[in-house]
Subunit: 127 residues, 2 copies
DNA sequence: GTAGAAGTTAACGTCGGTGTCAGATTCAAG
DNA sequence: CTTGAATCTGACACCGACGTTAACTTCTAC
């Protein structure tokens, strides 16, 4: 499939897809005229890349990580080096801390929302 | 207290503290010579600001939210407007989605780490 | 009063994934 | 062929919290 269709199916811009290729995250074949030609599996891969970016990983880390992820069809395809394992462990811990902070902030927001609802909303406290 | 001590006690740079003031997030008195003078409660406030930033909120949203948060000593001090409640609700939902993505990515990392550990680590699979 | 630590304002730099525009080329359909 | 949609490369812009430097002023302790 070509870049336009991949963009539509993943919800990722064409600009980003080209960037992913430039960063070595996403391989693409080429037609005679030089247009990119993606295999079906590119869809899953792009989605994974987005998830990892959303988790705050840098493109270089993602590039090292991707070959070690179990493909939708088959096995792990590559084993993480000790160096990579160390880096990924640090990332995982960072993500854990971030999740805790997020839970905290979400509770803060909920409390403000609830307080406002009690003051303005349904219960209509009369006094 | 002055800016240096506040920075030390919160782990936030002086640069950031001045930025917070500029964005209307953190009020400070002034000495005769123009140096900032913070009250004790500034410590808690700075920590909250950091948490909200970590959750991906923008300074303008934090500025609107802060007065509606229950202070460490007393009551809510301000009630969120309907507009603000709507915005905060959107933020809360975004945070929820982000947490789900983070959990997903963390599991991916864990799986790669575990796979590498099984291949290289303690169990030492002999063959 | 004086040296050195600490504080002030102002301005510019950073990072990195992505938006966007320009100009040229390729593809698909009539 | 020709035309219009799609794609290509390359370059510049952006966001936004914060780092960093520069040139000056104020505080503090002796």
């Amino acid at each position: 499939m070509r870049i336009g269709e991949l963009a539509r199916r993943t919800g990722v811009s064409e600009r980003s897809l080209r960037y992913y290729e430039q960063q070595g995250l996403l391989a693409a074949g080429r037609t005679g005229g030089g247009h990119r030609d993606y295999p079906e599996r590119a869809v899953d891969r792009v989605i994974r890349i987005q998830e990892l970016f959303a988790a705050g990983l840098h493109s270089k880390t993602v590039a090292r990580l991707l070959p070690c992820m179990r493909d939708s069809d088959g096995g792990p395809s590559a084993i993480a080096s000790p160096r990579l394992v160390a880096d990924l462990t640090a990332e995982r811990d960072r993500i854990d801390r971030m999740m805790a902070e997020l839970a905290n902030s979400r509770d803060v927001l909920d409390q403000v929302i609830t307080t406002a609802a009690e003051a303005t909303g349904p219960p209509t406290p009369r006094q």
